[in-house]
Symmetry: C2
Subunit: 392 residues, 2 copies
């Protein structure tokens, strides 16, 4: 089936259990699918835009209310929607970082945080994770002092991922924020793997900013995300335009330059809004997700030679695993080489693992049902047994 | 009907002829609607992302091919998709504009161009439009000299809207570009009302950059757009990342910092791709659109006291009209005041005019059929006659 010239309709989640590490939290809800159809046209949300002509003031559809609810849900003072978490990083970096300013992030930070720093002409200073791949407040304190010595000035901003994309480990943002605040360094909480997945309380985390990703973890179309701030920081990042036309004397109302005016319209915003009640509910049941993740991981760990690279026991469903001494040993002599594994998974209706990967790989069981988790666990064991591996 | 808690399904284009000035060119095609359903999940386009792991290298769905086709269609060397035209302005402004640098735009420029300049700490310098609301190359030359005198340096960049959002007038970008190039000023062609509407030949226009809007004029979901460049300028704006992790030594491949890495995914990109063949075809038939616009405008002009504020005869379907001496005269004594007009239009199945507007207002007949154009023309005349206005 095609949905346009040369574009095959995608049927991945319809045909298989998908444990792709980045797709799990972004699958649209049924309501988001309906919203996407009803609000397909971008300017559809502008039907009832009236003065002061800004997206977050529109009351029909209830965009203004959504903005308030979003901020309250994250326990922050103000929220804006942005075209992806990265555009939230960019807005904050551009506000605080000037040429040559050091900026804190971590040795496990996502590349988009580096790009936000690069784009603002700052210097990226990584807080090293420890041997267990955890970033600690102590390491943050040491790094701040090192930066001060090396660059002669303090970092102007810190990006801390609550759950990193490499291991899915949880880092103590609250403790790191307390250290950062002792040096008056504002902290951006990167919740790309948490906002929409588990409960996030920005004030309790001592975050100055909370960033979330719509298409990664809020069951919203791409590109979408949220940037929330405390009332003090909102004044800085969400300041309104001050530029004027030198000939016309034009001013541009209350548009916000760091957001480039209105941000998300149509499918992205209304999709996010339609999923929101479901998101609010699902974060309350993260325990079930961990239980499913545990079932799958127990099966993988039972395959002799397999080890977990993520922290263990798991606190998040995104997991990094090392099968060099198990699946990769099979791949060495298998006629399909490393593709035997993704091939076997595909035949059994499981998808989302990079084809050919048999050494170090990631998966995410978020959103699958209890019986799907049991099935996936059995599939891993079956593939191991079928290929002569020992299972405990 | 609802498409989520508290969100009514939108049925505007389904129930009426919509002549909204900004919605006309962004209505999704049927193929885009299908694509939006099939590729609802953001990371859906990443199923087959392989090294070097960048959006514009993905071949299934044919994203790489689309990027090449898009550049060729605009007669530019390289194209990238961006989350709205404004994010194209931002990327270019950030590359060339530093603190205090003067930047050219026009007295009819869109606010997002001002925000891009403000966000890059530049100074906005408007080329004044003439009495007919046309920006000329002569005015550009004069302005450049004025800027040089006033600021002691030349503008570093020029944003020129081919068709402005206020009057829908066409400005001679090619001639202005030639003047700008005499001073080595790169020119960004803002095609928010042209790319996807009428044929655009970037090289022939002497543009260094061509920016288009997906949701305004390319029948694509929001936020989406295109930023195309010449090969020389592409090296500057689409330069790849150079930042490294100070602890890990990590580098980030060929990601482009001005784009913040990958840009559009899922609905926005695949919607744009699905509409693309239809867009390529429709720009060849802009003459029909002008004919329809003429039919509607003739009817409006026949209402005594009505004048056209846009250039006349019309070269674009977006039109600004002054009905102060006709419809607004009726509004003075009508029990519904100015709302009589939008109310009457609504009853007759025409929508898209700001409710209450009876003095100066805009409309856009783009995309309506010949018989719809005749109907809308008759509706305007009927409303005038029903309210005692004279019609020639």
């Amino acid at each position: 089936m095609r949905c346009g010239a040369g574009i095959d309709a995608r049927m991945v989640d319809e045909l298989a259990i998908n444990i792709d590490p980045i797709q799990a939290g972004g699958r649209l809800t049924a309501d988001a699918m309906k919203a996407v159809v009803a609000y397909g046209d971008g300017y559809s949300v502008c039907d009832n835009c009236r003065k002061p002509n800004r997206l977050d003031y529109i009351s029909k559809p209830p965009i203004a209310e959504f903005h308030k609810d979003l901020a309250a849900w994250l326990n922050m003072d103000t929220a804006r929607v942005v075209p992806g978490a990265r555009r939230g990083f960019q807005a904050v970096a551009h506000t605080y970082v000037h040429k040559g300013d050091p900026v804190l992030l971590t040795s496990l930070s996502h590349y988009t945080e580096f790009l936000a720093i690069e784009e603002a002409d700052g210097i990226a200073c990584e807080i090293p994770a420890d041997e267990q791949n955890i970033v600690t407040a102590d390491a943050a304190a040491v790094k701040i002092e090192e930066v001060k010595k090396q660059h002669g000035r303090l970092p102007v901003l810190a990006f801390i991922d609550h759950v990193d994309y490499q291991y899915g480990n949880i880092h103590d943002v609250q403790a790191i924020a307390k250290v950062a605040h002792q040096y008056d360094i504002p902290l951006l909480y990167n919740g790309a793997y948490t906002v929409g997945i588990l409960p996030v309380d920005g004030k309790n985390l001592c975050a100055d900013f909370v960033v979330g990703s719509g298409h990664k973890s809020m069951a919203a179309p791409a590109p979408s995300g949220v940037l929330a701030a405390t009332v003090e920081r909102a004044k800085e990042v969400f300041r309104t335009t001050a530029i004027t036309g030198d000939v016309t004397g034009r001013k541009f109302g209350i548009k916000e330059p760091e957001l480039m005016g209105c941000t998300l319209m149509g499918v992205t915003l209304v999709g996010m809004m339609a999923s929101f009640p479901h998101i609010k509910e699902r974060v309350k049941h993260f325990g079930r997700e961990l239980e499913n993740a545990g079932t799958v991981l127990d099966a993988l760990r039972s395959i002799q030679g397999t080890s977990v690279l993520s922290e263990y026991p798991r606190k998040h469903t995104l997991t990094r695993i090392d099968t060099t001494a198990s699946l990769d040993a099979v791949a060495q002599t298998h006629k399909k080489r490393g593709f035997f594994f993704s091939g076997a998974l595909g035949e059994k209706g499981v998808t989302g693992i990079i084809p050919g990967a048999t050494r170090v790989w990631k998966y995410n069981t978020y959103g699958i049902t209890r019986s799907q988790a049991r099935y996936v666990a059995q599939v891993f064991v079956d593939i191991a047994l079928e290929n002569g591996l020992k299972v405990a």
